[in-house]
């Protein structure tokens, strides 16, 4: 329900606050430029507003979105948040024809030939309207294999082996986007300079409450669940954060591109390649798994040893 209105909403919001907002931002940037001079050109952005907190690093790179850092297009719609840690690109227009063919083959039976959804027997929203959702949304669902859905009536589409390849998924998103261009575009994070410690702190605050701090995912309310993050490519992580698929909330203006980049680096390095110096990770299930191992292999084995040490009687 919400995904369908992302583009227009942003447009509306942008329109609603352009005038006094923009003037204020312009005034602020002029004043701060004069006040801080060339220093600002080096450190980039309105760093004067940034105060490090005890629970985040002191590295001055958070680049949190404020009015000077957000990039807007001519309609005033936000197209990038913060500095250029992530490049947003629309899929190539050359893929549109292929995308249409693939869509009619794989998706139209549920989403309709014009991708505007088919209400199915009173379950409005079961086969949602895809027009205007933005290429990142479409690409996420198809590339991760969740779509075409194995069970269209289930409360949550499971990730599975994708039916379409990466390029085919891009093609589908290109065609849907061509119907009514939307945002966000496909994010390509630049991980080389991302800060994994910032990513860890942001992950702990924003992501661990659903995906667990180890990134293994778990069962949530009703029959929903948060998926494991152990095998996800970096583009998908960024797409999921920006588009908020399904029950996952979306993180738009509350996380800058740098922050999302940091989280992606943290997920693709530490979560997906954990350093387990203590031995087997026991599935990352925490104390539950530890309890079983301790009782079975610790107490159990020792009790068996005691069976050998002691005597039996009849």
């Amino acid at each position: 329900m919400d995904r369908a209105v992302l583009g227009p909403v942003l447009a509306e919001v942008g329109n609603g606050v352009t005038s006094p907002f923009f003037k204020r931002c312009a005034a602020l940037s002029i004043v701060s430029l004069f006040a801080c001079g060339p220093v600002l050109l080096f450190v980039g952005g309105a760093q004067a507003a940034y105060k490090p907190t005890p629970y985040q690093t002191t590295r001055k790179n958070a680049g949190t979105p404020n009015s000077t850092m957000v990039k807007k297009n001519s309609d005033g719609v936000i197209i990038a948040y913060g500095n250029s840690s992530i490049t947003y690109r629309a899929p190539s227009a050359a893929l549109v024809t292929l995308g249409e063919a693939l869509f009619q083959q794989n998706c139209a039976s549920c989403h309709g030939t014009q991708a505007n959804g088919v209400p199915a027997n009173g379950t409005a929203g079961a086969f949602p309207d895809l027009v205007g959702l933005g290429p990142a949304t479409i690409n996420f669902w198809v590339d991760s294999g969740r779509m075409p859905a194995a069970n269209p009536r289930s409360i949550e589409a499971n990730r599975r082996v994708p039916r379409l390849t990466h390029d085919q998924a891009l093609a589908v998103s290109a065609w849907v986007d061509s119907l009514s261009p939307g945002f966000p575009l496909i994010p390509y994070p630049h991980l080389k300079n991302a800060n994994v410690a910032d990513g860890a702190a942001l992950f702990a605050l924003n992501c661990a409450s659903c995906h667990t701090i180890e990134g293994d995912g778990d069962a949530l309310a009703m029959s929903t669940f948060s998926p494991s993050l152990r095998k996800i490519p970096s583009i998908e992580v960024a797409e999921a954060i920006r588009t908020g698929p399904g029950n996952m909330p979306r993180f738009t203006g509350n996380l800058s591109d740098t922050q999302v980049d940091d989280i992606v680096k943290f997920v693709t390095t530490e979560i997906q390649h954990p350093n387990n110096p203590g031995g087997f990770g026991l599935g990352g299930l925490g104390p539950v798994a530890e309890g079983f191992v301790g009782l079975a292999f610790g107490v159990g084995v020792l009790a068996l040893v005691g069976f050998w040490v002691g005597e039996r009687d009849d």
Binding site: R3, R24, Q56, T64, L205, N206, R250, D313
Partner: protein, 310 residues
Amino acid sequence: MTDEHRTPVSLTGLPANDPHLLPAARNPELVERVISVCFILGALCLAGFGACYWIDAQPWKLGATLGGGLLFLGIGIVAWGKYLMPRGPFVEERHTLANSDADRQAFAAAIVERGGGVVQRRKLLGGLLGGGMGIFGIVVMFPLLRSLGPLPKTTLQHTDWRSGSYVVDQTGRRVEVGDLAVGSIETVFPEGKENSDRGQAVDQTVLIRVSNEAFTTMKGRETWAPHGYVAYSKVCTHLGCPVGLYEQELQLLVCPCHQSMFNVTNGAVPQFGPAPRPLPQLPLYVDSSGFLRSQSDYHEAVGPGFWERS
């Protein structure tokens, strides 16, 4: 191999060729060789532990050598005791713990008559001492209890949100009305408190955008959620865990600790799970610059229940 069919004998006065003194093993020489191998392996493993420590090897190597060494030595020692030492079984008498009646009488007499006599004779002293000890028992608790911490007074009833507090995220940046899209969630604090312990623990609030227009969660709260921004206390009313888990299609805030589920659209009323009360909602407004600010503090105490919570 079992000994239970042999008659138990006492340890004292056994002849040297008594079958109870023989080893339990059928083939003691073979067992002895096996135990020697165990000891040699154990010693090698422990030497390996020393070597691993010297070269700063990985923890699993340290543990494997230490564990293996101890295990081999232990198995050898147990096998020695079980298979090579006198197999028994041996027996000894239990002496009754209770003493004779005469001893018991004398014991009771010493306490009752001697002690009782003393107290009877000096009743006043006994009473005064009792009173003094009683007072001592009470006052000795004072430094232990009172010095440990301050009185709660009303600290539990209020947070640091005030009328006009700016809503800031964890980096201290003020939240503007254009920041979140519908379906977004953010953890926010009153400005100035995002660094502090108390801010983290008590003031923490989740900000969710549920729509683009003003949203009413309950009667009387029509102005509380401007532009669709609802703010609830992040401290669960069950046991205080941060309720950070938002499912935007189900519109539920789920507490990760014991899975209480709060309905975001009707004032965070618990739909399931052990939480007894809705999460308090923070009344917001948007100021002329577009920043989100709180109208006042929460209208009730946040977090888990306690006696003084009215």
